[in-house]
């Protein structure tokens, strides 16, 4: 009985994300079929079936495939937690890309300078540097929002560009390693994350998994977490109760930035190895999808990250075997975000009633920028 009720509760929360994914896959299948009309082989109705089965095989069919999925999922877990934590405080952190790059850069530079130090020291220091750098980038929009009311969506998007360009300059002119034909940082040597299983399953996966209970604990069991959730759900009531929404906002964005920075650090120390201009920060955008699909729940974030990790890990095989380009994954992901933000569509289609009191991430996403809550928080007397 209790189990049945739990199951029902989980369905209430998970139904819309799950169905959104199904719907997104179906819509992407249409795109795949239509695009096949422009290839030499002509219109192929069964192409999506073959594409998706290759995708599945590439993600799960062998030990290596599974390891690839886990490795791709690890930064998404951290990035997803970053966005989810911000959602809990009523903030929309679109700045994971910038925080990710800052974290990756700081980890690369620290790793390169500690390349000859004992591995535990080099790894710990590089991870810490990545987290701190991400936190610093997260603090800026948090502070601006708290002090001036500047909307974090605008400031984080701008900071993404600012961070990418600033770091390109830094790697070109400040910390460029000698002996390479292009600007990049030096080898990270001992700061490389140790592989714990298979060919490439690195320690960063463990870091990401440990972050989940840590964030869940922060939110559920600590007074700071209570403040974050209160400010997110009703900033006016939180202020009346004696909390400081201004501080909570700045703190949450900083913590969110630390998680984004850690995502960059594990990707740098476990996969990329050195910082060079134009390294991909797709984790930033993917993290938003992960948080939305995971309903901002730390455990939900794991499932969502595994899903998107599987997409990323399986896509190359799909492209090789069926010539369906990996960019289809981006289409699927964008459709998932679209369907979750406009969840009314999914609810209408599948006749699902709105779960009571579920925290409204979409509400945070779509909240009017001049909402009275925002104004009230900004107008708090100094």
């Amino acid at each position: 009985m209790i189990f049945a009720r739990r199951l029902l509760g989980a369905w209430r929360v998970g139904a819309v994300p799950a169905l959104s994914i199904v719907l997104a896959l179906a819509l992407a299948a249409v795109v795949i079929v239509l695009s096949s009309a422009f290839t030499t082989s002509g219109l192929d109705v069964l192409l999506p079936v073959r594409a998706y089965s290759s995708l599945l095989a590439g993600a799960f069919a062998s030990e290596t495939a599974i390891a690839n999925t886990l490795v791709a999922a690890a930064p998404l877990v951290l990035g997803g937690l970053s966005v989810a934590l911000a959602f809990k405080a009523g903030l929309f952190n679109i700045g994971v890309a910038g925080q990710f790059l800052a974290g990756a850069f700081a980890a690369a530079v620290t790793g390169a300078s500690l390349a000859a130090s004992p591995a535990p020291v080099a790894v710990a220091a590089s991870l810490a540097a990545g987290g701190l750098a991400g936190g610093a980038v997260g603090f800026i929009p948090g502070y601006l929002k708290a002090r001036t009311g500047a909307h974090e969506v605008v400031t984080t998007i701008m900071l993404n560009n600012a961070a990418a360009l600033l770091l390109t300059w830094a790697v070109t002119d400040l910390v460029r390693a000698p002996g390479f034909t292009f600007p990049r940082t030096g080898d990270i040597g001992n700061a490389l994350l140790p592989v714990i299983a298979g060919r490439n399953l690195h320690l960063g996966v463990v870091v990401a998994l440990l972050a989940v209970p840590a964030i869940a604990f922060l939110l559920d069991r600590t007074t700071i977490g209570f403040e974050i959730r209160s400010v997110g759900a009703n900033p006016v009531a939180a202020r009346y109760a004696g909390m400081r929404p201004v501080l909570v906002t700045a703190l949450t964005m900083t913590l969110s930035g630390v998680l984004g920075g850690l995502a960059g650090a594990i990707q740098m120390l476990g996969v990329i190895g050195f910082y060079a201009p134009g390294i991909t920060a797709s984790v930033g955008f993917d993290s938003i999808a992960v948080a939305l699909v995971g309903r901002s729940d730390p455990v939900g974030v794991i499932f969502a990250a595994l899903l998107f990790g599987a997409f990323r890990a399986g896509a190359p095989l799909m492209q090789i075997e069926t010539s369906v380009p990996v960019e289809v994954i981006d289409i699927i992901q964008a459709l998932v975000i679209l369907l979750l933000a406009a969840d009314v569509i999914v609810r209408r289609l599948f006749r699902i009633r709105r779960a009571r009191g579920g925290l409204g991430e979409p509400a945070t996403v779509t909240r009017s920028w001049s909402s009275p809550e925002v104004a009230t928080v900004a107008a708090e007397p100094r």
Binding site: T223, I224, F226, A233, N234, V236, A237, A241, G242, P381
Partner: protein, 519 residues
């Protein structure tokens, strides 16, 4: 020769009649059960009931916002189905909601014609014609509203008139007003009664939703009492009393007046000196206020809404900075102290708007009961009181729920699903804590039913008798006269008089509220 039949005026056929209306919500709540309700032209028919009794559901069915499960609606004797509000408006039903549906930046005339804009050639808005028509209508109804004024500059009472104007402009013959007096001052209430009577005399059928017995007795031609979704009685004012109506509404005997007893004021707990507070638009909202509240007494602040009460309260609790002057709690200067610091000195605060400022509706009852004390031992422990002790939080919530009779199936229930009265009990249970020294109450019973009001009033008096200093602000003059040991009247930011309870007659206080002077 007159026959007995035409002795009185002929009773008009009902303009609106609802028969056997039943509505069960998906949650299982039976909101309306076989409700019969009718209104005649020229009649003011009051729909009386506690919060959650089903008054609003019935009217939402009439207005096309809710579809009934069964039952019939007839307008002018013809059965109708009302699909949506546009349909309702087309059939002559108008509704004035409790929360006004006006666009603040538009003028009175623009708001009135909104959705039915007058256009000249080339689809250009004809503002002048709109203003002319609205002015004419406003004069016919005796409203004194200038069509070109922006609605955000109007008082609440005036905005309500714009709403009524809007309905009449759209040809409403059946006008429904959802608790229209909840937001009005006594004077405005009197004025709106005149307006409604005039509309009825012109032939409109008026449904007046309320849970205030006195007003219903004063205004209505007929009263239908609804309890738990069912009609439990229909009365005419001259054949009933407030006590009988209260009993019908609540289902048991209630005492409408709690016995205040004697107060034993002791030392000064709250001392306000020369306080000035700036308003949002730069004007001076509070002008040099001096005020003492002693332990064991209730000071009531009476005043027409918008005369600085809100700013005074917000400044005392720390939500708003003082421009000058001082605030002392127990002799200590807290003028620059944070909300938290003041709460730590034993201050508690029940804000006017429980849903916006008093509660996090998405949280459980348990978490809302800890919203202000979450950082205090024993609810939090460990380094820097960083860890929440969940068993203790739960036990404390269960104690408060029991003591304040919050009707909820468990502490885990989401607060937003509780009735208004129970939500307010959650706020009161949290704020009326054991180490309370100074209690600030802003509209503590706004929108509550008689049963909940009685309960909260008793709790307030118990706090006073336990030696708490209480500052009470209320738009309900009756509430202030009933509870306060001293009544301070605020007018344009100043306290113009402080009267002992014995001298604070309704007339005297009302005059001070309206003019700032005793004569």
């Amino acid at each position: 020769m007159k026959s007995a039949n035409d002795a009185g005026p002929p009773r008009a056929a009902p303009v609106l009649s609802m028969r056997g209306v039943t509505k069960r919500y998906a949650t299982g709540t039976l909101a309306n059960e076989a409700v019969d309700f009718e209104v005649r032209a020229g009649e003011i028919h009051a729909l009386l009931g506690e919060n959650g009794a089903g008054k609003s559901t019935l009217m939402h069915i009439l207005y096309g916002l809710v579809a009934p499960d069964s039952g019939e609606i007839a307008i002018d004797g013809h059965p109708v189905t009302i699909a949506d509000p546009a349909d309702a408006i087309a059939r002559g039903v108008g509704m004035v909601h409790q929360h006004f549906m006006l666009v603040p930046v538009l003028t009175v005339a623009e708001n009135v014609v909104l959705g039915r804009e007058l256009v000249g050639p080339a689809q250009v808005l004809d503002r002048a014609e709109a203003a002319r028509r609205v002015r004419a209508l406003s004069e016919r109804l005796g409203f004194a509203l200038a069509p070109e004024v922006r609605t955000e500059q109007l008082s609440v009472g005036q905005q309500q008139r714009v709403e009524i104007l809007k309905s009449v402009y759209r040809g409403a013959r059946i006008l429904v007003l959802d608790e229209p007096t909840a937001v009005l001052t006594p004077q405005e209430t009197r004025e709106i009664f005149t307006v409604l009577r005039r509309l009825a005399d012109e032939g409109a059928a008026i449904v007046f939703i309320s849970h205030k017995l006195e007003e219903v007795l004063e205004l209505a031609d007929r009263i239908t009492v609804i309890r738990r979704g069912k009609v439990v009685g229909e009365r005419e004012p001259r054949e009933t009393t407030a006590d009988e109506l209260a009993e019908l509404m609540v289902g048991r005997e209630v005492s409408l007046r709690v016995d205040r007893g004697r107060s034993r004021p002791a030392e000064v707990r709250l001392a306000v000196r020369g306080l000035r507070v700036a308003g949002d638009r730069g004007h001076e909202a509070v002008r040099s206020v001096d005020l003492d509240v002693r332990a064991g007494e209730i000071i009531g602040i009476a005043g027409v809404a918008g005369n600085g009460q809100e700013h005074l309260v917000e400044c005392v609790v720390g939500l708003r900075a003082a421009a000058s002057g001082t605030i002392h709690i127990d002799g200590r200067d807290v003028t620059k102290g944070s909300i938290r610091q003041r709460r730590d000195r034993g201050l508690a605060y029940v804000p006017a708007d429980r849903q916006r400022a008093g509660l996090v509706l998405a949280f459980s009852v348990r978490d809302n009961l800890a919203l202000t004390t979450y950082e205090d031992a024993p609810l939090a422990h460990g380094v820097g009181r960083l860890l929440r002790d969940r068993p203790v939080i739960d036990a404390s919530a269960r104690r408060l729920i029991e003591r304040f009779d919050v009707r909820t199936s468990s502490p885990s229930v989401e607060t937003g699903t509780l009735s208004g009265g129970n939500q307010q009990k959650v706020v009161v249970a949290r704020e009326f804590r054991a180490d309370l020294r100074l209690l600030v109450l802003d509209q503590p019973t706004r929108g509550l039913d008689v049963g909940s009001i009685e309960f909260i009033h008793r709790q307030v008096l118990a706090q006073r008798d336990a030696g708490t200093a209480i500052l009470l602000v209320s738009a309900e003059l009756d509430e202030i006269l009933q509870l306060a040991d001293r009544v301070a009247v605020m007018y344009r930011g100043s306290i113009v008089a402080t009267l002992a309870a014995a001298e604070a007659s309704r007339d005297r206080v009302g005059r001070l509220m309206a003019t700032g002077a005793a004569a």
